[in-house]
Symmetry: D2
Amino acid sequence: MSKQNPTAAPLSGSIELTGHQYGKAENRVVRIYRDRPRHEIHDVNVSTCLRGDFADAYLTGNQSTVLPTDSQKQTAYAYAKEKGLISIESYGLELAAHFVDDIEPVTGARIEIEEYAWERAIVDGTEHDHTWVRKGQEVRTASITQDDTGTWVIGGLKDLVLLKSSGSEFTGFLQDPYTVLEPTEDRVLATALVAQWRFVGTDVDWESVYAGIKATIVMQFATVHSLALQQTLFQIGRAILEEFPIIAEVRLSAPNKHHFDYALERFGVENNNEVFQAADRPYGLIQAAVSRSDAPDAGPSWTPFSGWLS
Amino acid sequence: MSKQNPTAAPLSGSIELTGHQYGKAENRVVRIYRDRPRHEIHDVNVSTCLRGDFADAYLTGNQSTVLPTDSQKQTAYAYAKEKGLISIESYGLELAAHFVDDIEPVTGARIEIEEYAWERAIVDGTEHDHTWVRKGQEVRTASITQDDTGTWVIGGLKDLVLLKSSGSEFTGFLQDPYTVLEPTEDRVLATALVAQWRFVGTDVDWESVYAGIKATIVMQFATVHSLALQQTLFQIGRAILEEFPIIAEVRLSAPNKHHFDYALERFGVENNNEVFQAADRPYGLIQAAVSRSDAPDAGPSWTPFSGWLS
Amino acid sequence: MSKQNPTAAPLSGSIELTGHQYGKAENRVVRIYRDRPRHEIHDVNVSTCLRGDFADAYLTGNQSTVLPTDSQKQTAYAYAKEKGLISIESYGLELAAHFVDDIEPVTGARIEIEEYAWERAIVDGTEHDHTWVRKGQEVRTASITQDDTGTWVIGGLKDLVLLKSSGSEFTGFLQDPYTVLEPTEDRVLATALVAQWRFVGTDVDWESVYAGIKATIVMQFATVHSLALQQTLFQIGRAILEEFPIIAEVRLSAPNKHHFDYALERFGVENNNEVFQAADRPYGLIQAAVSRSDAPDAGPSWTPFSGWLS
Amino acid sequence: MSKQNPTAAPLSGSIELTGHQYGKAENRVVRIYRDRPRHEIHDVNVSTCLRGDFADAYLTGNQSTVLPTDSQKQTAYAYAKEKGLISIESYGLELAAHFVDDIEPVTGARIEIEEYAWERAIVDGTEHDHTWVRKGQEVRTASITQDDTGTWVIGGLKDLVLLKSSGSEFTGFLQDPYTVLEPTEDRVLATALVAQWRFVGTDVDWESVYAGIKATIVMQFATVHSLALQQTLFQIGRAILEEFPIIAEVRLSAPNKHHFDYALERFGVENNNEVFQAADRPYGLIQAAVSRSDAPDAGPSWTPFSGWLS
């Protein structure tokens, strides 16, 4: 029963600016390394967010402490050359440190990055030196946060679409008067996974950890006999933490992309979990956080920029 | 300078489930009132999220306390008739109360709703009784959160696309070595506004407040001479709070949808702020929270479901 | 039974370039008229396509007859000032004539335009002079084609979302062994209409014709007692032609946006066409062309640019 | 100069239904083969379109010859089991033949299919038997058309995103007063290719041909030194026809996904084609058809269903 008074007294206190941040969202930066016969490519979407005392810009319109979002954009492009763009975590750390350390009114920065992977074109069985095909699978993500208390790196991925056609059941659930779902001991389980993992420290081999975590996710999804998507998520989170002691916490959000057994019996056609309708909406949405008991404080590492109010 | 040790010691603590919630996202419910000659329509997208101790489902796969997301879907449709669907805030309150009060293991619920507005078809100058055209403008939103400490309602809107062709400038900003932006005293200002406002109490005339807040937003955007989008946002937040003492806090997120003056002079064509390129990406993104000093505690009202990890 | 030989002989003829066209797609041009206290805005997405003998560019890479797509973009922006941008049909005619008449190798041009409507912000009951809210309803479209045999204008709209909660039935249809659909004498009918109409001549009051056709579409959808979406489409097409003798032909494509009666009876809740599930996919898709018997030849007016191979 | 009379006489001829077709769009069918230890998956989006004399449904609302789109949906799901779903071309041929041969008023059918590829999950270096990761690269497409004159199969793909960081130039183009583009002898060339190829005959090893054509496209894109996207397209089309004598015609549509060299020199940073801005809109759009001189007549093979009026 709600404790909040339904007919609460109207408010009359003073009106205050109680939070603010701003930045440039979705800079599409592509970096080619071509100082070698075999080129390299890194293709990212980077958003930069500045934190600090910019209250005057809001309260009076005085912009004297506001670094334009256009300048942040220029910096994101320049740093792809000046500092390089190999691992998105490193690139984000450079950008965050620059804004906090070099721009006087800035006391905190958050850098959010998506990376789109490319694979080399195959020509006569051999990888080509300067041609690629967009890989198109999951999007790799990173969020780097720096303020006067520390620096935090969150790695991650999204849109990793997984499906298993066996090894998944859903039974024994709670029943209420609106429950008509039948339990099933064999169903298709599919999701488009979002996973984010918080590092301790920044001295990390970002590329090998990313590859390792993705492999772990796929392996757990494949090999865990799933009693529910909830259970699969926890097993994924646990496996990542067990394997990577530099990860303090894993967060997972997984739509249950329903594949409904199609009713073919009415047409005299047997359907033994062979034909499914892939549904769009609605979908179950299952979420979990899995952490180490000795995880250091998360600080502002989970405070979003572009996802705020989404 | 970062305080976090770049070469932090690896972790070895026990692995724990430190957070979880689940529900059914994006139920597309359409409710027609047809017990009168002039029908009414309400067209919503509702997501339900349950909170409580469902740890066993994650840790062992035991589903005995888990109300299926399918049952939540059935409830969302049934309640559109049983309780009615006029104001999304009321409908969400009914759903939240049901899950928390009637389903034993559930200790908290969050209901997130979008509403798509329709306007009546005009036939020979008259509004038609049972035909509509999708209005297509902003999407109205609501988030209702209930737990054992109270009930909170957040109203809102998104995708309210606003543009002014005069009355906006951007000058006097901070300059750094990457600053090449020219100050301007006359520019197009455009945004696709996201606004969310937190109510105190639940005894509210939801429809008139919504209409009033939207009108206030539009009026402020039009009449404030903008020195920056930051300033416009604060003025919008302040005006809402001044006008509605039942609102404790307003949160605003506004992409700066850049309209770049197109360089026509090189073709011998004068362009005095008449021809613009509407850009897609990147965009500035400006955010603010404006509150009453006597606002009650926000509790879990801003803890998201579908936007988590987005 | 197919007449084509399943085991057709392999081909050995010479390989030829049998068709080609190219251009610049999706120029986002915004034109403000500000030489008056009350500004005007026109917000369009324009694609330009050139036709002619550009075979060398394909066959040998010789670009000497190829006007860069970048030059086409510059022209689209410049013409918004030089020729003005009030009606998209007029603006498109100017662009098409320019490319065909002024650029030597160009023998044909196709201009495809979308327009996004804005309505004036309301401040204290009065329309504001230089602030707008994106209207968000249907997108107005136009395709202008010119070649050495003539000039054709097609007007249109898309994403006009219409719904009626009564006055629609679907009965008496053909049954086959896969038919399980129940006939219904009262259903929700909803669509997101695409309509395109071909003009004869170019001496047209584009704005009033557009407003008139949209009103006619809405009125027909509302007032025709629908025995099927097919019938509604034909009535819409016929009404447009009857009212506008300058229209030779109307083409209509209408997804049947299914609203399924939700099965609430199993929960003891009556549902007399009051609660519906709005489905995403699949959807019926109904299409029709309605023409005047004395319509002049359509020439290349329906040959698309951006929709080619879509 | 246009030959069409700008002030054409208004029309007064009779109003007629001059074209029509209808069907069910976007059935999301997933077929699992599980009669073996190593499951197989096929994941498609199929649209069915019927052609014939359904004029009464439009003119009078009489549905007696109209097979409901719902029945078409049921058939699409049932046939995934009854006829199987291995190659989308074969599955489409079965559906088309059924509608034309078995449903009396139907004289023609068009089946349009998209397929989403999955790759097996890797567990400890080994492919898993019943778990997959969505591949996410290009979408494979097919259009099957049957009428009383024959049967036609078009294979294809879309969204194959390709990029080369060298081996592309654009020089020697036509200049007009709006031309400001600088010629370049070294640029990034990127596209999201749409390709469709028309088969002669239906006795084809669909899987190996598809794999072969995709490899050919990638190889040509990589190895042709591109003087323009036009030239690359023709080379791709020619190579496909040379390699596959069962292909009569190739159609290609390629957005030029511009990657603009970012101006870093103003910040004292050298940028030798290393840092690029990936632009969204506008984009060049280049299209070509390449055919065999002895290609049989295309009949209705290119007449679209879902893309009509797009």
